[in-house]
Symmetry: C2
Subunit: 291 residues, 2 copies
C-alpha cells in the first residue's frame, strides 16, 4: 500500500535542507524543520525569511502572499522525537559524513512512525551505505535536490536494491507535488544522473584551460554557440564554487588532479572561489545575480 505523504520533517537546515523545507512548505505541506540546536534554528528562521524574499522576486506567483504564507507552515524543533513523530516523510539533509548520518538514522528509526518513508539528500553516499541503519530499509531511498531548488528543480530518485517500489513511487509522487521534475534512477549510481554527466564535462573543460589550449571565456563561448546552452562550463564552475570543484578534482584521476593543482594555485590561494567571492574564472559585481 502506497503511503500518501502529507506531513514532512526535514532534518538539517543547511543551504539545501532549508531550500527543501521551504519549497515543501511553499507547496502546501506542513513541514517540521529540525536541527541540533536552537541557535541553528534561529539562523534557519532568518534563512527562510530570505528564501521567501527571493521567491517573491524570482518565482512567478510567489509575491503578494504565497511566499510569506509558506513561512507559517514551518514548525521548528531541536527535539528529534517531536520533529519526526507525525511525519509521513523524513528528508535527511545532514552533513555529508557517513558515520554522522548513520548515527542520525539509528536515532530517528525508533522515533518515527512505522510506515514513514525516509529519504536522504546525500550527494555522494549511496542509499545502500545507510539503509540498514534506518530500521526500515524497504522504506528508505535517496531523493537528491540541486542548489537553488526553485530554479534547478530536478529531484533525483534513487533506491537501493531493498527499496520497496511502493515507497519509491510515493517519493516520485511527492517530488512532483512539490514542483520538482522527478528523475527516476533504476540502479544505484554514484553522482546520480546529473553529476555523472556533469563531472566529466567539467573536467574536460578544465583540462583545456589547464593545458593552455584556450581560455575559459573562449571555451564557454564555444560551448554556448555549439550547443545553445545558456551557460558554459566555467560559468557553471563559478556557481558551484571553486572550493567544491577543487575537492571533486582532487579525488579524481591524474588529469583531474592536475586540474585541482591549477585551481589551487591560480584561484583558491588567491581567494577567488567563484561567484560567492565576487571572482572566479569571471569577475562579478558586488551583487551577484543568480545563475
Amino acid at each position: 500500500m502506497t503511503t500518501h505523504i502529507q506531513t514532512v520533517a526535514v532534518l538539517g537546515t543547511g543551504v539545501l535542507g532549508s531550500q527543501i523545507a521551504y519549497q515543501t512548505a511553499y507547496s502546501g505541506f506542513e513541514v517540521t524543520a529540525y536541527d541540533i540546536s536552537d541557535e541553528l534554528l534561529e539562523k534557519a528562521r532568518s534563512g527562510f525569511a530570505g528564501l521567501a524574499a527571493r521567491y517573491e522576486r524570482e518565482v512567478e506567483g510567489a509575491s503578494g502572499g504565497p511566499a510569506h504564507a509558506a513561512l507559517s507552515r514551518i514548525t521548528y524543533s531541536s527535539a528529534l522525537a517531536d520533529a519526526v513523530r507525525d511525519a509521513d516523510l523524513v528528508i535527511e539533509s545532514a552533513p555529508e559524513r557517513l558515520a554522522l548520518k548513520r548515527d542520525l538514522y539509528a536515532k530517528v528509526g525508533p522515533l518515527a512512525r512505522e510506515k514513514a518513508i525516509f529519504v536522504t539528500n546525500s550527494s555522494t553516499l549511496l542509499p545502500s551505505q545507510l539503509a540498514d541503519a534506518t530500521g526500515r530499509p524497504d522504506r528508505f531511498l535517496a531523493l537528491h535536490f540541486a542548489n537553488e531548488i526553485w530554479v534547478h528543480n530536478t529531484a533525483e530518485v534513487m533506491g537501493h536494491p531493498g527499496t520497496d517500489p511502493a515507497a519509491y513511487d510515493a517519493v516520485v509522487d511527492f517530488a512532483r507535488r512539490i514542483g520538482m521534475v522527478p528523475i527516476e534512477l533504476r540502479k544505484e549510481q554514484p553522482g546520480y544522473v546529473v553529476n555523472s554527466i556533469q563531472v566529466p564535462y567539467l573536467q574536460a573543460a578544465q583540462a583545456l584551460v589547464v593545458n593552455g589550449v584556450a581560455d575559459a571565456e573562449t571555451v564557454d563561448t564555444a560551448w554556448r554557440t555549439a550547443t545553445g546552452a545558456p551557460h558554459g562550463p566555467f560559468q557553471s564552475l563559478d556557481v558551484i564554487g571553486l572550493a567544491t570543484v577543487y575537492n571533486i578534482d582532487a579525488a579524481g584521476d591524474e588529469e583531474s588532479q592536475a586540474n585541482a593543482r591549477y585551481l589551487k594555485e591560480h584561484y583558491i590561494d588567491k581567494g577567488k572561489l567563484g561567484r560567492s567571492t565576487g571572482e572566479g574564472f569571471y569577475k562579478y559585481g558586488t551583487a551577484p545575480t543568480r545563475s
Copy 2:
C-alpha cells in the same frame, strides 16, 4: 603583413564543404567549389540550391533575394589549377584520410598563389600532420566548422607550432566576416574545444543508459532541467548520427567500447541510426525538423 582574404576556394563538396562554400558565398565572397569530377559538382549544384532553400526558411533576412544571390557567387571547377589559382584562402574539406589530404596538399601547393593561406576543416587530424605537405607550413592551419553551419556557427581556429600569427589572425578575421564565432585555440588539441568537451559528456551519458541506471529520455530531462540547455545528450547523439557515434565510441577506452557494443546491438543493427533514419534514441516524424 596580413593577407586580406577576398577570394576563396573550397576543396570538397561533401556535406560540410558545401555548407562552408555556401555560407562564404552568402556572406558576399566569390567562391570556387572544387571537386574531383563533374558528376560530384552537379550533385553539389543541387545541394547548394537545397541550402539556399533552407536558408530562406531558417536564416533571417535570407529570403527575397540574398539566399538565391549567393548561388551566383559560386563557380564550379573540377580542375584544381583553375580552382585555386586566384584564391587568397583555400579551405580543404576533403575526406578524412591522412594520405588523401597530404596528396591533395602536395598538388595544391604549387598551383596556388604564394601568399595564399590554406586551412583544413579536418575534425580528427592535427595541422602538424599535414603542414609539411602544403609547401607553406607558416600559412597553414585548421579552421573547423560544425554541421549546420548557419545555426551552429562556431569556427575553431587552430594552428600548429609553425603557423605564422599573421595567417592565424587573417583566418580569425575571415571567420568573423562569414558570420562565424571564431574560437581561438592556442595549441593543437585533438577534438578542438567543442569535441574535447562533448565526447566525454556524451560517453558519460551513454554509460548511464548502457548500465541500466536510467533511460535516455530521463537522462535528457535531467540534463535540460539542471542546466537549462535546449537539448539533452541523447537528442544530440541522434542528430550526430549513431553510426558516427559508434565509430567514436569504438575508438575509445573500455567504457566507450561497451557503449559502442550497446549501440550496435540495440540501434545500428536494427537500422536505427538517429534522426536521419527517423529513429534512434527517439522516434521522429517523416520530416525531421532541424535540431
